[in-house]
Symmetry: C2
Subunit: 342 residues, 2 copies
Amino acid sequence: MNRPLTYKDAGVDLDAADRAKRSLAPLLDAASDENTLSGLGAFGGLYAVPGGMAEPVLVASADGVGTKLKVAFAAGRHDTIGQDLVNHCVNDILVQGARPLFFLDYLATGALDEEVVPEVVGGVARACSDNRCVLLGGETAEMPDFYAAGEYDLAGFVVGVVEREGILDGSAVQVGDRLVAIRSSGLHTNGFTLARTLVFERMGLGIDDPFPGEDATVAEVLLRVHRSYLGPVRPLLAAGSLRAMAHVTGGGIEGNLPRVLPKGMSARIDCASWNPPNVFRRLGDGGGMAPGEMYRVFNMGVGMILVVAPEFEAGVLKSLGHEGWPIGEVVEGDRVALVGAG
Amino acid sequence: MNRPLTYKDAGVDLDAADRAKRSLAPLLDAASDENTLSGLGAFGGLYAVPGGMAEPVLVASADGVGTKLKVAFAAGRHDTIGQDLVNHCVNDILVQGARPLFFLDYLATGALDEEVVPEVVGGVARACSDNRCVLLGGETAEMPDFYAAGEYDLAGFVVGVVEREGILDGSAVQVGDRLVAIRSSGLHTNGFTLARTLVFERMGLGIDDPFPGEDATVAEVLLRVHRSYLGPVRPLLAAGSLRAMAHVTGGGIEGNLPRVLPKGMSARIDCASWNPPNVFRRLGDGGGMAPGEMYRVFNMGVGMILVVAPEFEAGVLKSLGHEGWPIGEVVEGDRVALVGAG
C-alpha cells in the first residue's frame, strides 16, 4: 500500500533548503555595496549602474571550476573552491579592461549538506569581498540522482564594467609589442582531469601524501587558490599602459594568447625566460607527459600575459616587481611559437 | 610501461571542445543586438548599457533546470531544455519590472557530445531570441567522472535592466489589492524529482507511454516548455498597472507569493477559482499525494501572480484575456491561506 508521498520522500527537503538559504544571508550582506538595492529572497538581484561614466559597457563571463572539485572532495576541503571560481571569472573580464561589479553562483548537489554549502558559498563571498565585487545572488539546487554522494558542481557568473573607450579587445596590438608575464599561483583551475590522472595514477600519490619537492601535501599543492590579477593589473590599466591581456586558462599560452591578437599577428614566447614551478615539473616528469603537451594544457607558471608597447615595458615590469618578467614579443604569423618548450 | 600521456588520454578532447564551440558561433551571432560589442572567443561578453535611461538598475538572476533534465535524457530530447532555462530566468527578473538584456549559459557534461551540445545551446539561443535577449556567452565544461554517460547539467544567468523608479519590490502593495493569476504551461521547471517518482514509480508509466487524459506522451507532457511571461506582462508594466508580481516556482504559491508582500501582509487564494490542469490532477491522484503537499511543490496551473490595485483589476484581466483570472486578494496576516486546496 502506498502511503501519501511528500517532496521529502522523493529526496528533496524544502525545509533544509530554506535553512541553508538563510544561513547564506550574512554572507550576502557582507559582500554588498552602495549600489546593491536588493536583499536575500528577492527573485533577482538589483544593482544600480555606477554613475559618472561616459559610455559604460558591461562585461560578463560564466565559468566553472572543472574537476578541481574532485580534489576538494577527496581532501574534504570546501572553503577555497569558491575563491578559485570568483578569481577565475574576475580575471576573464579583467583582460578586457573591466572591473567587477557583481557575481552570482550556481551550486548544484545531490543532497544539500548544511555544513558544506555555507563553506562553499563562504569561499565565494570571501573572494567577492577581496575583489570588491558584490555577491548579488545565486542558486543552490538540490538534484537527487544527479551528483554522487558528497559531490557538487559549482559555476559562477560575473558582471563588470568598463568605459567604452577603455575596452581592451586586442585591436591596438602591433608587431613588436612586448609580452610581459605575471606568475600564476599554481595549477589554477585548468587541466585537473589530466593532473589527477598524473598525480593519483601515474605518480601513485594519495591526497594526504607529501608532494615531492614541496613542504606541502598533495591536497595543498593541487588546491592552491587560483589568484586574482585585479590588484597588480588595475594600476596598469588606470595608467593606460596595456594594449591587451590574456588569461592563461584551458589550452595554455597557445590556446589563449591568440584570442587577443589581431589577425596575421602571433607571438614568440621565450620559454627559457622562466622556470616552470615545481608542480609542473613533477607532473611532467613523474607522469611521463610530452613537454609540448604540458604547455598545451597547463599555465606552466604563467597566469596572465600583458601586451605592452615597447616604451611602456620597463614601467610595467617595475610596477609588477618580482611577479612579472619579459616573456616574448608580438610577431607576424598565425601560430604561437613556444621557443624552448621541448 | 607508461606511454607519454596526453590530455585526450585523460578523457578531455580539446579539439572536440574547439569544434563544439565553433558550432555554437552562428547561434550567438543570431542572438545579438546593437548593444552587443563582442564576438565568440572573447574572454568576456561586452554589452553597452542602454542609453536614454535616467537611473538604470541591473537585475540579475541565476538558475538551473533541476531534474527536468532527467526527463530530457530519458526522452533523448535536448532542444527544449534551454528554453525552460531562459524563460525561467527571464520571468525571475520580470517580476521586479526588468526586461532582459543578455544571458549566459553554463553547460557541464562528462564527455562533449558534438550533436547534443548544439541542440541544448540551440534551445537557449532560440529562447533568447524569443525574449529579445542577447546570448552573450557561456561555458561548456567537459568533466569526466562527474556526470553519468549521456548526462549534463545546465545553468544560466540573465541580466536585465529597469528604471530605478520602476522597480517592483512589493513595497507598494496594500491590503485589499487584488491578485490576478496567469496560467502556467505545465510543470515548468519545478518539482521534477517528485514528479518523476510519481509518474515513473507510483503510476508505473514509461517515457513514451500515452499520458492519461491527454493526447500526448509522458515525455511530451513532462517536457512542456516553461513559458515566458514577458509578452503578456510588458504592456501591463508599461501602463503602470502592477504593484508586484510573483513567479510561482519551487515552493509553489505559498513559497513564492510572500517574497513580494510587505511584512504583516499575506494573501487569501481562492482555489475554487480554477481547475488545476490534467497533469497536476493525475500526479496527485495517481501518485497518492496529499493535496496540500501538491500545492507546496507544484504551480498547479498558476505560473505567475500579479498584485494589482483594485481599480486596475478589470483592465489587467481584459489585457490578459483567457490567460488570466482573479485568484484572491492581499490580506493582513503572515501566512498564505489556500482556501479550498484540500
